[in-house]
Subunit: 339 residues, 2 copies
């Protein structure tokens, strides 16, 4: 028996979540059964989609039950393997949840190559966020050199990869991020042609001034005022990939948002294509993603940035901050020491 | 010199148009120049898109200028030809506008084969509306046998063709139309599996009851409450083709409409594809459309219905009625006698 710590969903949030919605618990783990691994968590990934799992609403995934462990991807070390092909001491990535240890199915975990890049990147630039960026840009938006793309949450785990891959395609890249520091980083480190602060009260006018040729692709991570500044700039045959809408999570800002007819009219008259996507429908593209982006991360041609919280007990506070844009790049929680 | 009659745009409507926005005029036509035809109008087509041309708003086409002839497609007879390949007495179709005669460019006109079907069908089932239905169903929605499609304005010039072609593909077809008479016609004559009346106060509940397997494709002609009843029924990977939104033209109902975040959330979580389209981007598909649908109209396998107003002077009243759904099938205006 192994004692472990976990963060459980204590209650469902009404609107914006608070610390009271989470509970730190100690519990026991059994020994791993056939095909299972006992793993200890090193890095926990925090991601905006987790907000949706806290609600009891039908979506693409089941909600976390009250009292259940919060879901999430983790980079972990194998302590005990009861599965062929996995050995203790190996580093793996998969859905352990917000927990210090887990008994998991080996076939649902992938091995992490510590020689390629720091193991934490398996949760960020080389993990689900990077894969999401790659699919959204190439398969959903089908961005082409010479086109203009706007990327919201431009310095986030997903947006930062979208912007850099788009620039490498020869696209004009306009970022939108929260605050001067992120905007400076977007231009100086991530190579955006320009970056707007979504707090800017003149966001729509600034967006218009920055996009004299209009916008061909919009990579949507946020919704809100950012979307409303981009929609009127969309060119004929433009594409919008809806990857997230963090500005509207927890119901914030929805009462002041644009009504559907205005958007519908633009979609019709400009012949836009608006498409939602979820990365787990695109697992078949992971090898292509890793083949392209892996070497670029190793060579330092793709930049990434991490915000690290220390200790599983601080995961809820870090998550609440993430929802407010308080992270800078990929939000991680250090759950255990490196091997 | 030929004297002719035309309907000019007298003023721009504020909201719902009225008869005062139109003016009947008599004017003179010059003789046709090189490459031109003098034609006399037989049938004028009235279409919902014309509402958009009355506003001074940037769209996919230029607005009609104040004092200009209202735009529209016409089936006409050639009176004088100054263009190779066209002879007087031939029947042609093209943009004469709301006018009894016109001097037009021959290369912008197509000949109508009176042996295929009544010449008025060149404005309806075998014209732009039928072509629009064909492209929307096959290229935009990519409807497949076994899927469920909802068609709004189900008995209209476009929707009636969508429904029949979808049924021939083996789709389950649900229409939405205005009133019991249209709904009965939809099921009995057009072969819809069911048809809902958009006036029904329980439209959303009825839509839910009728679509136990959800909705894969929505052919959007109207917006409004119909859209709001369909959106929650959309299946994962569903498609919405936005062809029109007549319920929201003239600004009607837009203040009560759903806000964007609710729709955005459904597009994201269900991975929908929402695409606007305009038929003139798809001229290359006209031969395929005519090859498939022409024989079906000739054989009587595709049904169509027309509402005919008599006399150019009655075009404005007929158009105002069309905007309220007062037509039944394709709305035409008899401008001159058959040849």
């Amino acid at each position: 028996m192994t004692q472990y710590q976990r963060i459980a969903l204590a209650s469902r949030p009404k609107g914006v979540p608070t610390a009271a919605n989470f509970r730190l618990e100690t519990a026991d783990l059994p020994a791993p059964g056939p095909g299972q691994l006992l793993v200890r968590s090193i890095w926990l990934s925090l991601d905006p989609y987790m907000r949706g799992r806290m609600d009891d609403v039908k979506s693409y995934a089941e909600p976390v039950p009250i009292g259940g462990t919060m879901e999430g991807e983790v980079v972990a070390e194998v302590l005990t393997s009861n599965a062929e092909g996995f050995a203790s001491g190996e580093i793996v990535v998969g859905r352990v949840g917000w927990a210090s240890h887990g008994i998991v199915k080996a076939k649902e975990f992938r091995k992490v190559d510590p020689g390629l890049a720091p193991i934490s990147t398996a949760l960020g630039v080389l993990g689900m966020p990077g894969h999401t960026a790659f699919v959204g840009l190439n398969d959903i938006l089908q961005g082409q050199g010479g086109e203009t793309i706007v990327v919201s949450a431009a310095t986030g785990a997903v947006g930062s990869v979208v912007g850099q891959l788009a620039k490498r395609k020869g696209m004009r890249t306009i970022g939108v991020a929260g605050g001067a520091e992120k905007c400076a980083y977007a231009v100086e480190n991530l190579g955006y042609d320009a970056c707007l602060d979504h707090h800017d009260p003149d966001l729509a006018a600034e967006m218009k001034a920055l996009t004299p040729q209009g916008v061909d692709c919009y990579y949507e991570n946020v919704g809100g005022k950012t979307l409303e500044s981009v929609l009127p700039r969309m060119n004929t045959f433009g594409r919008i990939a809806i990857c997230g809408m963090i500005a509207w999570y927890s119901g914030k800002g929805t009462e002041e948002a644009m009504r559907l007819p205005a958007a519908w009219r633009m979609i019709l008259t400009r012949r836009l294509r608006v498409q939602g996507f979820i990365i787990f429908d695109h697992a078949n593209r992971r090898p292509d993603f890793l083949a392209e982006v892996g070497p670029l991360v190793k060579s330092g041609d793709i930049h990434y940035r991490e915000t690290r919280a220390e200790g599983l007990e601080n995961a809820p506070a870090a998550f609440l901050q993430l929802l407010e844009g308080g992270n800078f790049g990929k939000q991680l929680v250090r759950v255990g020491p490196d091997p």
